[in-house]
Amino acid sequence: MATHTPTAPALEAAPVPSFHLLDYLRRFYANYTVRTIFKALVTIWAVITFTFFLIRLMPGNPVEVYVDFLMNQQNMTYDEAYSRAASQFRFDPDASPVTQYVEYMGHLLQGDLGESITSSGTRVIDQIARFLPWTIFSVGLGLLISFTLGATLGTIMAYKRNTFIDHTLSLISSILSAVPNYIWGLMILIIFGVQLRWFNVGELRGTYSPTMTPGFTLEFLGDVLKHAMLPVLVYVTGSIGGWMLNMRNSTIGTLGEDYVGVARARGLTSSRILLAYVGRNASLPMFTLLAINIGFIIGGSVIIEELFVYKGIGSFLYWSISQRDYTSMQGVFLIITISVVVSNLMADLLYSRLDPRVRVSGEK
């Protein structure tokens, strides 16, 4: 970065200063990392703007939802309910969306996600901090297991190509990847939970037992794992098939490459060929897929978390959508978008670490 300091233009008498600024910016933008980060920021801004107006176009607003609730549950008249709702919420349904947008972006630039509309006094960032870790934990664990296991099995399939093992695993992975993950969840719940009673469905709700006190005790960690078991199992069953098939196809492609044949001819040990030649190259396309999958699974966690009553960000999003809690919804969309963008960025960077060819062409 040091080479980009504008020392040279300062020495010459600059005729138009703005030209140098533009030139400087252009050179700055030519940097691969800068460009990637700039694109990521633009993407995040575009998503915020898009979702901001979208969720305000939804029929019904937080006040109306609450008014409905009050009229149905407490038999209030519309006027009573409305004045109660209006006084309770720090939200003016009549303010123009553009004003709201400018205000929101102003706060956002200061790192402030605002307050939840339906539960005043609760900051959205606190809500997210409360729910997001559980989703990161369960989705992350599920992805880690399915990715490792799937890549290993996929490599085995490729090495044992056209054998009974390959055919069986191919069939299993097709079936696993075909069925939606929440359908697996329902099956597991009904067959093993309700019918066979291998576990108590009611006890496994939530992220940890209400009797537990959170802390770094072995007991608490065990309880957390027990509650995360079902969602993690579903994330694994839902995505392992894809990893297996992709890794298999990718490895088969790599095994046919000349350099693998040369490595064999040089008499390298098969474990070295597997790790340094085949595995490394075959797993490259998997990292791009991983980035896409993270977004997909976090998005899909809405259904899984609702199904298992697991209080993560997905179930929080579902709640805020049904309550039309704009600021909470907006915050969750922002967080999920950032996680997708960041995982894409990381996949890019990882890719360039693993594949020198990308690094070279990227820096050109």
């Binding site: 993407t43 575009a46 998503v47 898009f50 979702t51 979208l54 969720i55 176009l57 939804m58 029929p59 190509r161 056209n162 390959d166 055919h167 191919s170 069939l171 097709s174 079936i175 990847s177 075909a178 069925v179 939606p180 929440y182 359908i183 329902l186 099956m187 719940l189 009904i190 067959i191 309700v194 019918q195 469905v201 009611g202 098939l245 196809n249 088969i252 492609g253 046919g256 896409i292 977004g295 997909f296 976090i298 998005g299 899909g300 809405v302 259904i303 609702e306 199904l307 999003l317 579902y318 959508i321 919804m329 969750v332 969309f333 999920i336 978008t337 997708v340 963008v341 894409n344």
Partner: protein, 411 residues
């Protein structure tokens, strides 16, 4: 081919449909080599028949039967008589001129339908209070007011078999060996309605919507992908930017918001919505395929001859990636199914139609999910959806192997 029908242009660039049929030609040959693909194909054929013809064969069961809530699979009508009459009444014909007690099948009303409706036999019928009136009915039978009672096997079993304490409330009554009517193969739901009929009817809208959504998504992807790759420049930049943006927004949550926004009253809107959010992955794949195809000599020749973008896309590029597009169309359909059923399961789509997804939604919202007695109500649609998805994917995978020799398992 005779000289008169010889068309040189056609020879060089096969028409879109020609290549489609050509690919169908080797299709049967390849399926024979791939057993999993065969299973998938047969599965899809079964689903096609089921969805198209099934609804005409099995009428939709909308009758609420409060006496027959959540009966297990295999339940059917049976005849109950007093022990001493067991050898006398063994079939409906034996009841000619006798009195038969039948539970009201409309539920909650005090009226009972004449038995002719289900038995097609002229017998004198008594009217009984219905709903949970099984004990009352059995009492009347025990007291001799009626000669036989027709009940569902499940309800009969509940009262006539001895409980764990060894007590039988009706020692004088017995199920005669006559089983009447067709069985409820999949049991009944929480309102006593036949689940099988719901499974038969519940697929049509779902599968059609998924197919339409998959078709639209593939179409958008092909058109935009080919345009981005062939026109390049601004078009490419804009299309790619939009694709990346749509890929970044968490699509399922966005779908939930949009579903609430648009008030999806018809399946076509839902299909369009799903398509609008699912095209980018395929579009990027097609763009890179077209980018490599456009380097080929015949495409460059077509450009040099200035044959027009439409001609180049439809006649030069597309026929060469038909298999790729066809496979991805199938995956787009399964993806659409995922989104669609997920939305319905969460209750985000207005319920116009009693589909498999709606059955799952009711399973969740009415708590039957957690009742051991009503497993059939949720498991049936779950299995129907799962098998459809599996058939689609097995079929697509076999197509994939067929067209990509590198993946071919059979030597």
């Amino acid at each position: 081919m005779t000289a008169t029908t010889y068309e040189p242009t056609r020879q060089r660039s096969p028409h879109f449909f020609d290549s489609l049929f050509a690919s169908l030609g080797i299709f049967g040959l390849a399926l024979r080599r791939n057993r999993a693909g065969m299973v998938g194909f047969i599965g899809l054929m079964i689903y096609a028949v089921w969805v198209l013809i099934g609804p005409y064969l099995v009428p939709f069961d909308d009758q609420v039967r409060l006496d027959q809530i959540a009966s297990p699979p295999g339940s059917r009508l049976v005849m109950i008589t007093r022990v001493e009459d067991v050898s006398r009444y063994t079939s409906l014909d034996d009841l000619n001129g006798q009195t038969v007690g039948v539970l009201d099948r409309s539920g909650g009303e005090t009226m009972v339908e004449p038995y002719e409706d289900s038995g097609a036999l002229e017998v004198e019928t008594e009217r009984f209070s219905s709903g949970r009136g099984v004990p009352a009915l059995l009492d009347q039978l025990a007291e001799g007011d009626v000669d036989a009672v027709v009940l569902f096997s499940d309800a009969a079993k509940r009262y006539l078999t001895p409980s764990s304490s060894g007590e039988n409330d009706y020692p004088g009554l017995v199920v005669s060996n006559a089983e009447l009517g067709r069985p409820y193969i999949l049991g009944t739901d929480t309102q006593g309605r036949d689940i099988l009929s719901h499974i038969v009817h519940g697929g049509t809208t779902l599968i059609t919507t998924a197919l339409v959504a998959g078709l639209m998504s593939t179409l958008i992807a092909v058109v935009l992908g080919a345009m981005a790759a062939l026109v390049g420049g601004m078009v490419d930049t804009i299309v790619t930017a939009i694709a990346n943006l749509v890929l970044t927004i968490p699509s399922f949550p966005l779908l939930i918001v949009l579903a609430a926004l648009i008030q999806l009253n018809n399946p076509l809107m839902l299909a369009l919505l799903i398509a609008l959010l699912s095209w980018p992955v395929l579009m990027r794949a097609i763009r890179s395929q077209v980018l490599s195809l456009r380097e080929r000599d015949y495409v460059e020749a077509a450009f040099a001859l200035d044959l027009g973008l439409r001609h180049i896309i439809l006649r030069e590029i597309l026929p060469n990636m038909m298999s790729f597009v066809a496979i991805n169309f199938i995956f787009a359909v399964t993806r659409a199914m995922y989104d669609q059923v997920g939305l319905i399961f969460l209750g985000m789509v207005p319920i116009n139609d009693y589909t498999w997804g709606v059955m799952l939604y009711f399973g969740r919202s009415r708590g039957t999910l957690f009742s051991p007695d009503s497993a059939s109500m949720v498991l049936s649609p779950v299995i129907a959806i799962a098998l459809f998805q599996v058939s689609m994917v097995l079929f697509a995978r076999s197509l994939e192997e067929m067209f990509d020799p590198r993946l071919r398992t059979a030597k």
